[in-house]
Symmetry: C2
């Protein structure tokens, strides 16, 4: 094992940390992160999920979890469990209607505590659901934790691809491997007439994958079922090659 | 006029600063901001647009603008102009593929410069297109500039409404009035059979407006034309009551 750098958070019991990211918001990072985590757990891996979006945590709702985590006498926070995942989120620590109006240093501290103080136990994978942007959270994760790889999510349109491209460049700058691209909200198939409309355009994910020289791990359609499943805490494991492809 | 607080950026020549925000990413803040700015300009107002999303600036593409702004000998940055708007964005100052991997203090400094060093001239409105979250950019804007009001954008689903609710609470915490809610990506009308599908659910915007005791300024459908117009730099002014409603 590498000698841990002085700033690194000791995560000795976690084999691989996977970041699911995109510099763009609302492209489906949380949705892809939860699907990836469930797909890995379905294959028998021990999986944790860290919701690193301190300002807008979505994982509690997506996994149907609520309630305050217990804190052991050694100051370790016990993760909540759902669908075979160990889950930690800033969403468990505050009232959902309360905004975290914090500047960078506070957010950095919150992330470091969620990472280092949670009693994760032995994990094969810790999936980290990243916030949008290329700022404090992204830097802190890359500088404090040995991240095995990142999955970049985009929707097909150029506005989103332009930001996802920055996400790829950022991970490369901080020496975190990019495992591949997931294109989300691709085509919409109308339930009434079965015709497909590409509301957000097409091909952006494939273009970014090719230009970045990484695989396109999968494409997920725009589908009302996906939205209703995630909003109601019954995440569907997309029977999607993305899960197994990313795990390799 | 109020005595300007010590930290306030002097914007003597700007009558009203309007923030278009949501704590959630990808809900259409940039799209609504550009439509609002164009609607105000169409009514004869002198309007500026500040793209405050330092990590993922979208306004250059949405307004079809590129190129480096001139800097006058008094160190004032000249805004670029399109469709009658004076526009400033971090996107004009760096190569579009380069990520701004900055922590909070750098981002705060960048925003303060874009606000204070740009030669806006006389404006009736400065529309500020906000990034997602409730962090450094939001706090800096509210603490440094007298913001006349904010417009909160959400999509219909609860995951987005939960974050937009935090955006409303944040502005109230920093004493910026909330002018109203805009619901975006409401229903999708299939071009093949004319049936409407509510891909992201329905009613979230109205619920948030009622609970926050502010008006629902408008509802925008999910439409491929909107996406292709914004992605190609030909923003359509949604012939939407939102423009005139928000101006009041
Ligand atoms: N493929 C999809 N089809 C329909 N709705 C989706 C899809 N992917 C995500 N969503 C919905 O879009 C919203 C944004 O997704 P989310 O995963 O929160 O994005 P991010 O984490 O990038 O902000 C959520 O309400 C989610 O349910
Ligand atoms: N009503 C709409 N119908 C179709 N596409 C839309 C609509 N509103 C926004 N978009 C598209 O969705 C993407 C995200 O919108 P954007 O304004 O960038 O959101 P934000 O500023 O909140 O991140 C853009 O590509 C935009 O073109
Ligand atoms: Zn149809």
């Amino acid at each position: 094992a590498h000698p841990v750098q002085p700033n690194m958070v000791r995560l000795a019991s976690i084999k691989n940390v996977l970041a699911v990211a995109s510099a763009k918001g609302g492209v489906g990072k949380s949705t892809v992160a939860v699907n990836l985590a469930l797909a890995l757990a379905d294959e028998g891996a021990r999986v944790g999920m860290l919701d690193a979006d301190i300002y807008g945590p979505s994982q509690p709702r997506m996994l149907g979890l609520s309630g305050r985590p217990d804190v052991s006498d050694k100051k370790k926070i016990q993760p909540l469990c759902a669908f075979g995942l160990k889950v930690m989120s800033a969403g468990f620590l505050v009232d959902p209607a309360t905004p975290m109006v914090w500047r960078g240093p506070m957010v950095t501290q919150a992330l470091t505590q969620l990472l280092g103080d949670t009693d994760w136990g032995e994990l094969d994978y810790l999936v980290v659901d990243m916030p949008p942007g290329t700022g404090d959270i992204q830097l802190t994760l890359a500088q404090r934790v040995p991240v095995a790889g990142s999955v970049i999510v985009t929707t097909p349109q150029e506005i989103a691809v332009a930001d996802a491209r920055k996400g790829v460049a950022m991970f490369r700058k901080v020496e975190v491997p990019v495992l591949g691209i997931v294109e989300n909200m691709a085509g919409f198939r109308c339930a009434h007439c079965n015709e497909v409309t590409e509301i957000f355009g097409a091909g952006g994910g494939a273009r970014l994958a090719e230009e970045s020289e990484v695989p396109l791990l999968g494409t997920i359609p725009l589908a009302p079922d996906i939205q209703s499943a995630t909003d109601s805490g019954r995440p569907s494991v997309a029977s999607d090659p993305e899960g197994s492809a990313a795990a390799d």
